[in-house]
């Protein structure tokens, strides 16, 4: 082993990343080479120094975390109070009808409000992904790199497929927290513009591709298929987004 090889291997050697044979080769070289041995000593000193710089959790942090966790609601459930039946008999049909009417109107309003906040959250995420450096956590046009990357980061497996052939090359992916859950964000490109495709499990059945009202100039199309919600957000034209949706569905349906 010459000095060039040894210098290259000193770090992995010191970090315990080399196999036994390689380690022994490095050690043998270090025994005979003063300058490489000095480099190793430097690294050792540096590693020790960095290790000593550890910050331990300050007093009281554990307690405040515990208190916050215990006070939080672990699973945010839909809080829809179903008390209509009890009012039926007690207050008569008219009142019950009124309550039911109010109840449904309320539900629609709740759904509208939560859809609106979802739209806003998805648009925010799209905008953030463009202005920050955080467009992707895994950068790859290879679906076989992106798909396994999500494993262990999500409690579901989003279908990932490259659509270069259809004019929408895959750029990468990241995990986002939207509306209290982890969702997959797949990033595609369309003529220098990015498309964020947000994916998470659906509770309802399939739904056709549908355009939403543009949010702050960004177009949004959504659909539901094979147990997943899909929301695509982008500055590309809605027609293109619809093409994208169809291309994605074609590709993933044939893969299923």
């Amino acid at each position: 082993m010459n000095c060039d090889d040894a210098r290259r291997l000193i770090a992995p050697y010191s970090d315990g990343e080399l196999d036994l044979v390689r380690s022994l080769e490095v050690e043998e070289h270090l025994r005979g080479c003063e300058s490489c041995a000095a480099a190793r000593e430097n690294l050792r000193a540096l590693k020790q120094a960095a290790h000593s710089a550890y910050f331990h959790a300050p007093d009281g942090l554990r307690e405040s975390v515990l208190a916050a966790v215990r006070a939080s609601d672990p699973i945010p459930q839909n809080v829809v109070v179903r008390r209509a039946p009890r009012f039926w008999i007690a207050t008569g049909v008219a009142l019950a009808a009124g309550i039911l009417l109010g109840f449904f109107a309320g539900q629609i309003r709740i759904r509208d409000a939560s859809e609106q906040s979802l739209l806003a959250a998805l648009t925010d995420s799209h905008v953030r992904s463009l202005i920050g450096a955080h467009l992707t956590d895994v950068v790859s046009s290879d679906q076989h790199t992106v798909r396994p990357w999500f494993e262990g980061k999500l409690d579901f497996a989003p279908p990932v497929t490259d659509l270069s052939g259809q004019g929408f090359p895959l750029v990468g992916g990241r995990v986002e927290y939207i509306d209290g859950r982890a969702v997959a964000a797949l990033v595609y490109e369309r003529r220098k513009h990015f498309i964020n495709l947000f994916v998470w499990p659906a509770t309802a059945g399939n739904q056709e591709v549908k355009g939403e009202k543009p949010q702050r100039g960004y177009n949004i199309v959504r659909w539901r298929a094979a147990g997943m919600n899909y929301w695509a957000v982008s500055e590309v034209a809605e027609d293109d987004l619809r093409k994208f949706a169809v291309a994605f569905e074609d590709a993933t349906t044939s893969a299923r």
Partner: protein, 177 residues
């Protein structure tokens, strides 16, 4: 509701030091680090159902990292948190001897000040490697990059660190606080 939170507390809370250490290095101060740990733990609790066993510390650190970077991005309103690596200044090797470096390394405040000067992607690689003792592969998984990237970040981070440590000694001869 202690029954509901008990498994979470048993699995996650032992790694509070690691969570705080990473948050402290990424935010740069105690106050924000505390907030970030608190927020991360709440997220971890919320998503605890999706934790499929394995390294709970790594799982928590991934959440801490995401939480801190999202927060930094919101705060910096789109300024790049990471500098593109190709634009990073190229550092020349400085000649050092182990004694000099060791003497310098004994001063924990000087070491901390030096680590704080590293750019975030180098800093987190050094923190995960030297303080949490993670392997290259584990760091790659937490950070979401290739192993080769971890190795090059570590190498460059260490080179910068060494340079900063030795230079601050040569120029000031004492502690820069």
């Amino acid at each position: 509701m202690e029954n509901e939170t008990a498994p979470f507390e048993k699995t996650i809370l032992p790694h509070l030091d690691a969570a705080y250490n990473l948050a402290r290095w990424l935010t740069g101060n105690e106050h924000d680090a505390r907030d970030m740990v608190q927020e991360s733990c709440l997220r971890a609790f919320k998503f605890f159902g999706s934790f499929r066993g394995g390294d709970a510390r790594a799982w928590l650190l991934t959440i801490v990292r995401n939480t801190v970077y999202s927060w930094l991005q919101r705060r910096q309103k789109g300024e790049h948190v990471f500098q593109p690596e190709e634009e990073m200044e190229k550092f020349e090797d400085v000649s050092v001897n182990p004694e000099q470096l060791l003497a310098r390394s004994a001063n924990i405040e000087a070491v901390r000040a030096a680590i704080a000067q590293l750019s975030p992607e180098f800093r987190e690689a050094v923190v995960l490697r030297e303080m949490e003792n993670y392997s290259y592969k584990e760091i790659a998984d937490i950070v979401g990059v290739q192993i080769g990237t971890v190795m090059s970040r570590l190498a460059r981070g260490r080179r910068q660190l060494q340079r900063i440590l030795v230079q601050s000694e040569n120029t000031s001869g004492g502690i820069v606080s």
